[in-house]
């Protein structure tokens, strides 16, 4: 069985799917990613599907599952590089890609993850307001 490599770049795990995955390969990737998120403590996952010429219900479900798993493990998943023909087909197939964030390319995906982390930071700052903020209220 082929295995899709998971690369660590800074605080992000990057998966670039370059092969037509068998269902088993897709399930393996799901497990590999979960392990790597925990092992590395990364807060972002980017899945680049530029090379995929189709996404069927199985791969679509795998993407949704990875997004859910990573959220539980405190990481944000962004799927990048979906081809227009793939997007059109997915909609007609009836797949909604629940809870999946998408971006045009890897660079935009990284921006999205950085923005999500900045948001998190703001929220945690609001949880414990410092004296100044309290004083102005």
């Amino acid at each position: 069985m082929e295995r899709v490599p998971v690369l660590k770049i800074g605080d992000i795990l990057l998966v670039s799917i370059q092969v037509d995955m068998s269902d088993q390969t897709a399930v393996q990737l799901q497990e590999d990613l979960a392990e790597r998120i925990v092992a590395t403590g990364c807060h972002g996952v980017i899945i680049d599907i530029t090379a995929l010429d189709i996404v069927d219900s199985f791969v679509g479900r795998m993407l949704s599952t990875i997004a859910s798993i990573s959220r539980v493990l405190d990481a944000e998943t962004v799927v990048v590089g979906m081809r227009p023909a793939v997007a059109i087909t997915l909609v007609e197939l009836g797949l909604s890609l629940n809870g999946i964030r998408t971006a045009l390319n890897v660079e935009r995906g990284m921006e999205l993850i950085a923005a999500a982390q900045a948001d998190d930071y703001d929220y945690s700052a609001e949880d414990e307001p410092d004296d100044e903020t309290t004083a102005t209220r």
Binding site: S22, I54, S57, E92, G94
Partner: protein, 139 residues
């Protein structure tokens, strides 16, 4: 279903494993490119084939896909037959409903595949296996 004239012999791919489902996708893609289907139509046909090939494997217990280029006098198309000798589908209307599954799926394969092709024909019944024929015509 409009029959059309076969252009050349059908190309068969056995469906007995995960890897065979990948091979069905590759075969359909090659034939669709050769028949000059548009990129979107290629994508729709390969996606539909992937769904039906997986069903043949998972529910039909394995079978075969046969891919043929056809011509109806005005347009060229691809016909794919998926056949298995499995348990068959008892309630077809139910199986064709979005979201209906007896496995762990999303229940989109059959109904979604039907939307992605131009013609869809299914012969099945309890204990009779399942034979699904789809056609996608070039625009």
């Amino acid at each position: 279903m409009t029959a059309g004239i076969d252009l050349g012999h059908p190309q068969a791919q056995a469906i007995q494993s995960d890897e065979d489902v990948v091979r069905v996708r590759q075969l359909v893609r090659t034939v669709a490119v050769a028949a000059r289907l548009s990129l979107v139509d290629q994508t729709k046909l390969v996606t539909a084939a992937s769904e039906l090939a997986r069903n043949t494997l998972v529910y039909g217990g394995g079978g075969v896909a046969e891919v043929t280029t056809v011509d109806n006098g005005r347009r060229r198309g691809i016909r794919i037959v998926f056949a298995d000798d499995g348990p068959g589908i008892v309630d077809l209307d139910l199986a064709l409903t979005d979201g209906y599954t007896t496995g762990g799926g999303l229940g989109l394969g059959l109904s979604g595949a039907r939307r992605l092709v131009d013609e869809f024909d299914i012969v099945t019944g309890s204990g009779q296996g399942t034979r699904i024929t789809v056609i996608k015509w070039s625009r």
